[in-house]
């Protein structure tokens, strides 16, 4: 094919720029050298080691914190770390579950139990304040129901802290009631509006589904 031969001649005429002819290899050589230097650099090696140690250290701190029990020095740090996690993830119910578990775990020590109970109530309050949307309220209610059951089971098995546990259960029921109350109040108000002629598009009263 003659036309291809013409184009091939043009292709072969393509000239390399002066820069490549003079500096091309030098540029690559320097790049390879600097990469080698970086890999062999004590600073780079130290940086890598430091990063590895830091990750290891943080991992150990996290594991130690998670194992901290009420009454220990690290327990307030654990609470703080859980609060930060909840703030970032927006999941406050997780803290209620953790604190309820703490309460159950330390029933045999009065002082530790008091600290755990106090933290449980705080977590309850924070979570209640953050449950604004209907789905969050539902989630909050479900969590409270689970904790109520857990605390009731613990109450059956534990006589010394019976009264305190009863108080926590009541607070849990109270918080649940508040959420339910808000929900019912909203439903009643909607029903009331419908009865007063605030109808749907087809003229029929709007039914509220539970």
């Amino acid at each position: 094919m003659k036309e291809l031969e013409y184009l091939k001649k043009e292709y072969l005429k393509i000239q390399t720029p002066q820069y490549l002819n003079q500096e091309g290899w030098h540029e690559i050589s320097q790049k390879l050298e600097s990469q080698k230097r970086l890999a062999n650099s004590p600073l780079f090696a130290r940086g890598l080691t430091f990063a590895a140690v830091a990750v290891l250290f943080l991992g150990m701190v996290f594991t130690t914190l998670q194992a901290a029990k009420p009454g220990s020095l690290l327990y307030p740090v654990k609470i703080f770390s859980d609060d930060i996690t909840a703030l970032i993830s927006g999941n406050y119910e997780g803290n209620i579950e953790k604190r309820a578990q703490d309460v159950i775990n330390v029933q045999n020590s009065r002082e530790d139990f008091d600290q755990a109970a106090e933290e449980y109530l705080k977590a309850l309050e924070k979570s209640k304040q953050n449950a604004q949307k209907p789905e969050e309220k539902q989630q909050f209610k479900n969590t409270l129901e689970d904790q109520e059951q857990k605390l009731k089971n613990a109450q059956k098995e534990n006589q010394p802290q019976n009264e305190k546990l009863k108080e926590l259960i009541n607070k849990t029921i109270e918080a649940k009631g508040e959420i339910e109350g808000v929900k019912k109040k909203m439903q009643n108000s909607n029903n009331h509006e419908n009865e007063n002629g605030n109808n749907g598009e087809n003229g029929n009263p709007v039914r509220i589904r539970d």
Partner: protein, 175 residues
């Protein structure tokens, strides 16, 4: 100059000077290939340099028994051109075909009519077919080497090359 095979072995053992000699053997061809595909000097230069940098990094895994070194280099260059072309599509910069039609009028007049015709025909082929023409007819690579560069089975490349040539003739004939 030393035998290419020895240079490769030395370079694989970390000898940078040997790789420097390999560079001087191939850089003009790699640049030419990049320039023809990208139509831009600066981009072709960058891709050419990056090709050798990547080639050095993956040199330990290159096997001389597994294929020719020029196929290995052109494959790296082709992949980089494809990557660049994808990025350019996102940035809406002119691609191969646009460049052909965007050339200065004066240059178009000056250029041999037949060359322009075949170049435009080439631009109408898909990327793989275009590379078959460039590598096999312009770079004089064997069909096996072309198959390695474009990632086609060696058994199919003969038929494919024949079809591409036929297609090219048809396009040129239509115009």
């Amino acid at each position: 100059m030393e035998d290419l095979s020895n240079l490769i072995t030395r370079a694989q053992n970390g000898d940078k000077d040997a790789f420097g000699q390999i560079y001087s053997i191939f850089y003009q061809r790699i640049f030419r290939f990049c320039k023809f595909n990208t139509k831009q000097n600066a981009t072709a230069q960058d891709i050419c340099q990056e090709t050798f940098f990547k080639a050095w990094k993956s040199l330990p895994s290159f096997s001389q028994k597994g294929g020719s070194f020029q196929a290995y280099l052109f494959k790296i260059a082709r992949n980089l051109i494809i990557d660049m072309s994808r990025k350019k599509k996102e940035e809406r910069l002119p691609d191969y075909f646009d460049v052909v039609s965007d050339e200065h009028v004066e240059e178009k007049v000056e250029r041999d009519e037949k060359t322009a015709k075949v170049q435009q025909a080439l631009a109408q082929l898909n990327e793989i077919d275009r590379q078959i023409v460039i590598l096999h007819y312009f770079e004089d690579m064997t069909q096996i080497e072309v198959a390695r560069v474009i990632g086609v089975k060696e058994g199919n490349i003969r038929v494919k090359t024949h079809r591409v040539l036929k297609k090219l003739k048809e396009i040129i004939g239509e115009e």
